[in-house]
Symmetry: C2
Subunit: 322 residues, 2 copies
Amino acid sequence: MADVNSEQIAASILKGEIRAAAKLMREIDDGLPRALDTLKLLYAHVYKAQIWGITGSPGVGKSTLTDALVTKLRGEGKTVGVVAVDPTSPFSGGAILGDRVRMQRHATDEGVFIRSLATRGHFGGITASTRGVVTVMAAMGKDVVIIETVGVGQDEVDVVAAADTTLVVTVPGMGDDVQAIKAGILEVGDVFVVNKADRDGVEATASQLESMLAMDRDAPRRAGWMPPVVQTIASQSRGLDQLLEAIEGHRAVLTSDDGKLLAERRRERARMEVMDILKARTLRMLEERVEQNGRLQEMADAIADGRMDPYTASENIMAGIF
Amino acid sequence: MADVNSEQIAASILKGEIRAAAKLMREIDDGLPRALDTLKLLYAHVYKAQIWGITGSPGVGKSTLTDALVTKLRGEGKTVGVVAVDPTSPFSGGAILGDRVRMQRHATDEGVFIRSLATRGHFGGITASTRGVVTVMAAMGKDVVIIETVGVGQDEVDVVAAADTTLVVTVPGMGDDVQAIKAGILEVGDVFVVNKADRDGVEATASQLESMLAMDRDAPRRAGWMPPVVQTIASQSRGLDQLLEAIEGHRAVLTSDDGKLLAERRRERARMEVMDILKARTLRMLEERVEQNGRLQEMADAIADGRMDPYTASENIMAGIF
């Protein structure tokens, strides 16, 4: 049951108040139960925003591309939210190099809201937290919410795969990256970007991607959409018109036929979102019960001394807590 | 209680039989309960091997470095196990580029056992599986077991942080990588490697790392050990003597003072290993119960239609299953 306080916070966020939104996002980060009461009231507004995911290996220029897209969208009068889930993102703190501060030029623009989430320290809750922050930004009235995350790790991929449109970014000549795409994130991309397209080998990388996509064209998620491969030089804002056209093209497919595909993607996202929340809650419950149980350290000592093994130890603890 | 079959398999693995080991590793991958019975019997042997972790962003040359280390160790007459947890690793399948097959030259060497683990598709169990495979390799009698994993994501970092000695690899001039280290994996490195040291900017990267480490020198895990920064060109097998010296230097610190630090690290590893197994079991239990509960799809449909929110849905399901 939502209390009066939750209703007030929700109302402030729906009016676009930045301080209320920032406060709720901190509560989401801290896993406070009252954050959930407010999120319940805001959730109905999540479908007002377009949600884009941007993923790729470190060093391919995801942040620069996000920055360039934000500038472009602002130029069209659209408001934007950015959620960066990436240890290498300049928004996640710890920037030690001067050239990683580009996004800060948006800091004084009220039409842009940027929030970073650190991946470390979360106990199973990073995907649930990310989705919560997306909901808050959509409720604030942002036209587009961009989720930026590194394309490694199941959680990171799941979170962008649940966007309306997912961009997979690579650069020319990085065999490793094409392989990373091949190995894990090929199937989640709706639009592929070869960034730093002034480098050698851009055509080879683009055509390698195109042949891989051609082989994968009957994947269920595709539903007849052949993901385009767009070349950009994000640092010079080049190729952005083509990129936005590709995203719009994908949106047109999603919303055609009475929005059948968009509805399907939303059902899939809803399913994942419920599972994420269940996982986060279950792991928190596990952590609390292991703490209460109080036998973990004693077991760890016995294992390190060779008197026990971790499988027997976990069976003993499991029997005591569930 | 271990059955006769488990005892037979364990005995075969302790004799170094490759087929028995490979079979058990597949069972670990598939999450079969009988794999745990065998692992219980093998666990006491895990401390016979030195366990090294190698981590770093995609493209820094982790696999090439691992390959060069394997060759070097084999030259010294040592046997080696390699566990690769990395979507960009050549061992994880899907290699589309001819130059990613170096490690295959060890395929006919009985003193080397290589096993890759895909990170996708695992439901909370990748760290537990990895540790299980490490146990099998140690039980086979491998002198050194190397865990290679990409340095992004909590699970990936946890798994190498639990090694006896953890190597963090970067390359010159990749600002992003130094930042990734800063943001997440600085504190887990016992030895730092600047690979591809024939590239421009190697000295700048090395000294940047050294200053970051100097600031971090009082971290509890350090225990007086100042992690050295070693320059290598793995593709030409250069710098490996210095790297092995650095690893040996760290081992000397771990084993000095009656092995106090090594014992401490093992207790920490045991604690993490028990938690990993508990997490994997708990998430499997969650998945089964959600399946039995059977209301997830109906809830997802209601959410996508705007009739419900995922927080209320997860509360409803949670109440029904725990």
